[in-house]
């Protein structure tokens, strides 16, 4: 269980926004919280190589190897667990928002209702009981998967992939760039 991670197959994302709303339902993120832990971003429509392209990128906490949010936190409320998850201790969080600005990906949110920081914890309460995260279950395109290392290897083989923190993005079209904002270690795995 503990070594499973999120895999995002960009080929299969269809921008249905199911992950976004599934996340809000699962985590009680009402409109008033102004917290969108999972979001789908659009790249294009654009012309590359005499072809038209329209791509969609689900974005959520990457669970960075060296999380910048944690470095910006003045009270050490953010930590990286042994299983790779970056989690917030809400008891300690003082709601200063430094982590929200400190995250390069826009994955950290300030919950306007609880006045604390919040972000994806890979549906801790689901995954701990053996159920995949809600975004994964509801993904219509089949782009989101929660997989162990063996399946991860199998799925990334022969395709372009980039591992960012605990999250692997995958494409059979774009070679994908490791994002080197600050210090999160980006590893490339196979495919290129």
């Amino acid at each position: 269980m503990s070594n499973e991670a999120l895999l995002v197959d960009l080929d299969a994302c269809v921008r249905c926004y199911s992950c976004e709303i599934a996340c809000r339902q699962e985590n009680g993120l009402t409109f008033e919280t102004k917290s969108r832990w999972c979001r789908v971003s659009t790249v294009g429509p654009r012309e590359v190589g005499c072809e038209l392209h329209l791509d969609f990128v689900p974005v959520f906490c990457l669970h960075c190897e060296e999380p910048l949010c944690a470095r910006f936190c003045p009270v050490e409320a953010i930590s990286k667990r042994e299983d790779g998850r970056v989690i917030i201790d809400l008891e300690t969080c003082v709601g200063c928002r430094q982590c929200v600005h400190g995250c390069p990906y826009g994955a950290m949110h300030f919950n306007e209702v609880t006045q604390k920081a919040g972000k994806c914890d890979l549906c801790l309460s689901r995954t701990e009981t053996g159920i995949e995260p809600s975004c994964v279950q509801h993904c219509i395109g089949g782009a989101l998967r929660y997989v162990g290392p063996a399946e991860l290897r199998e799925l990334t083989q022969g395709r372009h992939s980039v591992r960012l923190g605990r999250t692997t993005y995958l494409s059979s079209k774009w070679t994908l760039n490791p994002i080197l904002f600050g210090s999160p270690r980006a590893e490339e795995t196979g495919g290129r």
Binding site: D11, A12, V14, R15, C16, Y17, S18, E20, I21, A22, Q25, T30, F31, S41, T42, V43, P45, R46, E47, E51, L52, H53, L54, D55, F56, V57, V59, F72, R97, Q98, V100, H101, G102, C103, P104, Y105, G106, H109, S125, T129, Q137, H138, C139, I140, G141, G142, V147, L155, G158, R159, V162, W174, T175, L176, N177, I179, L180, F181, G182, S183
Partner: protein, 782 residues
């Protein structure tokens, strides 16, 4: 504290100077590199920047084929307790649209619905659910929900209402309808509905037992042409059931199922992921067409020419399934001749699709078998929608892809009499006189005439508005509208508004107050799918199964639509032809399965195993027992028995003078992932994803008019003007604009759409192919 610092990219207020100072301090102290790149950007800008960088522009294609996505399956009890969440979980069926996706509803100890999820035990959805379904609790508990019957307490449209009891409300409706009947006869009354939520058949039954005609946008404009098309061709609505699971080649024709039809979108994407070829016919680069292996970007409204062109290539190149054609097709020779009138060069000229692509698509579809076709509404809104639907159905027939694994499947005889069942609809009660009086029955026989083949006959809506406004051919003075926001759903909204305003009486059943029931005299509150029981079976999504919907919570005094109809019937004097209770109706539906609703509730599912080539036993359900490539029914009605292409009524080619004044083709009805028709724009977590109407146009076209991306712009037609925000895409022809329908107020595109020039036989408005012009919007504060 005011945020003095703005986002470096978009300029939105971001943080205070103090915060900036603190962040810089931390960044320096902890030696954080490159922080300038993101530290002073807002969340959405970071997101955009991240995704753009991640994807990059280095295109290097590798094979995508890999195992199908894992979809969790588990057996699920009808009601169970979930210890993790401390909730009672009800197995049910989401009806946020009218498809019916298996879903589970979590109810907490206080009896409140806290969450709706996909049902991972479902063979239909494999656990997925769309954004609309997942947001169901927001819909259920929305502060604006109508919870009590209301009576108008001021001028019409004043928004002043007075609460009253169901008894008083229904009493008033009955009194007004009876009064109208006394003055004008039954023809003075009309019923109306929208897409409905599973209760279309009881609605038809109600209308037919009452002896009053009804109209609906969801017939001529959606469902009826394609149901009629494939029923004429193959005796059943086989085109509704592409077997993605076993297919090798998929054509998705004028549809974007990944965002509009999750059940089909899910299956389509699973097939695509394992390597099936995807051909998409769409004028625009969409969520679905962006995945296509072959994208046919056609001129809106020319689908029939494309289908006939493909038929011609398949026949000429000898790629037909000869055995199937010889044994099971009627009129092949005539079709061959007709199709020959559409050689690739001509079709390319009509459709704007390059000849090579048309040939490639035809060959792929005919040779890389099994192949299936997915269609939805877009092909039903052009100059000859029935021909279009029939020609597409014939593609499946001549290639031998009907009812074979991986083709388009004939629905299984699920023993639940719900789907377009003439007995349930009591169509036999209709008299010759009623058939003759129905508006549109002469001109549009397969919409409004006696011999419709899919839906029971309904009135042609443009004639309904005319009758209301002019009293001709007879006056219509009272309307009962169940589940339709007519002012957004029908073409030419201005006429619809005038017509509604002219009525003596309007009763409306709905979830929310809206621009249509604003003009009503009585509003009745309907229950959503979470507040009622039901048995559902749909040949669009569950063609081999029947599913259970369970009541979880009550909201105010909302009634199920079936109950409203039953109770009205009791007061109108035909209780014996409706049902005493909802449950009595479900028991009736389940009679063929020899069980009661109570028994059905025990496991909540009736499922049949698929059988293929069902036609081999008794033939196709057509006059010849074969697939009708040449149609005798249409011929008898005086129409062309073969499919044809008709140029749109408004087009740069057919009406060049109008084309000069209105040089752009407007195609409407492209969908937004988070909304369903006119619904859900009032749900904040959905609305913030798409806050305003986006008008899609080519950057070159916009530039000519000085329109910037994201700016408000105006679209004009001879009917009027409307506006939305410009969304640039190179994925649309510079001569075309795409405007989503069903937006409220000034963004309602139906205001500028024509409803007079309709397709023959079935009367569909040409919503996908009219003419318009655009301009910059100058006076709106953004």
């Amino acid at each position: 504290m005011k945020p003095e610092i703005s986002c470096a990219l978009c300029g939105q207020p971001l943080m205070t100077a103090k915060m900036k100072h603190r962040l810089l301090q931390v960044a320096t102290e902890k030696k954080i590199k490159n922080y300038e790149e993101w530290l002073f950007l807002c969340g959405p800008c970071k997101l955009r920047k991240f995704s753009q960088r991640l994807v990059g522009d280095d295109l290097k294609k590798v094979p995508r084929a890999k195992p199908v996505p894992f979809r969790r399956r588990e057996k699920l009890e009808v009601v169970k307790f979930a210890p993790r969440q401390q909730t009672t979980v009800y197995k049910s069926e989401c009806f946020s649209c009218n498809q019916g996706c298996d879903a589970v509803v979590h109810v907490n100890r206080d009896g409140r619905v806290v969450k709706v999820e996909g049902d991972s035990s479902s063979h239909v959805t494999k656990g997925v659910l769309c954004s609309k379904g997942l947001a169901s609790t927001e819909h259920l508990y929305h502060k604006d929900r109508l919870q009590y019957p209301l009576k108008r307490a001021g001028e019409r449209g004043s928004g002043k209402w007075q609460r009253l009891s169901w008894d008083e409300a229904l009493g008033t409706v009955v009194e007004k309808l009876n009064e109208t009947e006394r003055k004008y006869g039954k023809t003075g009354i009309i019923l109306a509905t929208g897409t409905s939520r599973g209760w279309l058949l009881p609605f038809y039954r109600f209308a037919n037992a009452y002896g009053v005609q009804y109209t609906a946008p969801g017939t001529a404009q959606c469902a009826l042409p394609r149901f009629t098309g494939s029923t004429l061709v193959g005796g059943t609505r086989f085109l509704e059931n592409p077997d993605h699971e076993h297919t090798r080649t998929m054509i998705v024709w004028g549809a974007n199922p990944t965002i509009t039809f999750p059940v089909k979108g899910r299956a389509m994407m699973d097939a695509w992921t394992r390597g099936a070829t995807l051909i998409v016919v769409d004028p625009m680069l969409t969520e679905t067409s962006s995945k296509a292996d072959l994208w046919l970007q056609l001129r809106p409204g020319t689908d029939a020419a494309l289908a006939l062109g493909m038929l011609n290539i398949i026949i000429q190149e000898g790629l037909c399934d000869r055995e199937f054609v010889e044994k099971w097709c009627y009129g092949f020779e005539e079709l061959r001749k007709r199709a020959a009138e559409y050689p690739p060069e001509r079709v390319a000229e009509i459709t704007w699709v390059p000849k090579e692509k048309i040939i490639q698509a035809a060959r792929l579809f005919a040779t890389e078998k099994p192949s299936c076709i997915t269609i939805v509404v877009a092909i039903e809104q052009n100059a000859d929608s029935l021909s279009t639907c029939r020609a597409i159905a014939m593609l499946s027939a001549v290639t031998g892809n009907i009812d074979v694994p991986g083709g388009n499947l004939i629905q299984m005889p699920v023993p639940v009499g719900l789907w377009l069942n003439a007995d349930l609809a009591l169509s036999n009660l209709l008299t010759e006189e009623q058939h003759a009086m129905r508006l549109g029955s002469k001109e549009y026989p397969l919409l409004s005439g006696k011999h419709t083949v899919s839906f029971p006959p309904s009135a042609f809506n443009s004639d309904v508005w005319k009758a209301m406004l002019t009293g001709k051919p007879y006056p219509i003075r009272a309307m009962y509208c169940q589940g339709s926001n007519m002012l957004r759903a029908y073409a030419n909204s201005r006429v619809v508004l005038e017509a509604i305003q002219s009525l003596d009486f309007l009763a409306a059943v709905d979830f929310y107050p809206n621009e249509t029931n604003d003009w009503a005299d009585i509003i009745l509150p309907a229950a959503t799918w979470m507040e009622r029981d039901f048995v559902t079976s749909s040949d669009q999504v569950s063609a081999n199964s029947a599913h259970l919907q369970q009541k979880t919570v009550p909201i105010g005094e909302c009634w199920s639509d079936v109950k409203i109809l039953n109770e009205l019937a009791k007061r109108l004097g035909f209780a014996h032809q409706m049902f005493d209770t909802d449950e009595a109706f479900f028991d009736y539906l389940l009679q063929p399965a020899e069980m009661t609703f109570r028994e059905f509730k025990e496991n909540g599912l009736i499922k049949l195993d698929w059988r293929y080539k069902k036609y081999e036993k008794k033939g196709f359900e057509t006059p010849t027992g074969k697939v009708m490539l040449r149609d005798t029914k249409l011929e008898n009605l005086g129409f062309d028995p073969l499919p044809q292409y008709v140029e749109p009524a408004e087009s740069p080619i057919r009406t060049p003078e109008l084309g000069e004044e209105y040089p752009l083709i407007i195609t409407t009805g492209g969908r937004v992932p988070v909304f369903r028709h006119s619904e859900f724009r009032n749900i904040p977590i959905l609305r913030e994803i798409v806050p305003d109407l986006e008008i899609f146009l080519h950057p070159d076209t916009a530039r000519k008019h000085g329109i910037q991306p994201g700016e408000w712009m105006v679209v004009e037609s001879p009917r009027g003007t409307m506006e939305g925000r410009a969304a640039f895409t190179p994925g649309i022809d510079p001569r075309v604009v795409q405007v989503a329908s069903h937006w409220p107020g000034k963004s309602n595109v139906n205001v500028i759409m024509d409803n007079e020039k309709c397709a023959p036989v079935v009367g569909s408005a040409q919503l996908r192919c009219q003419l318009c012009r655009i301009k910059k919007k100058v006076d709106r504060v953004q």
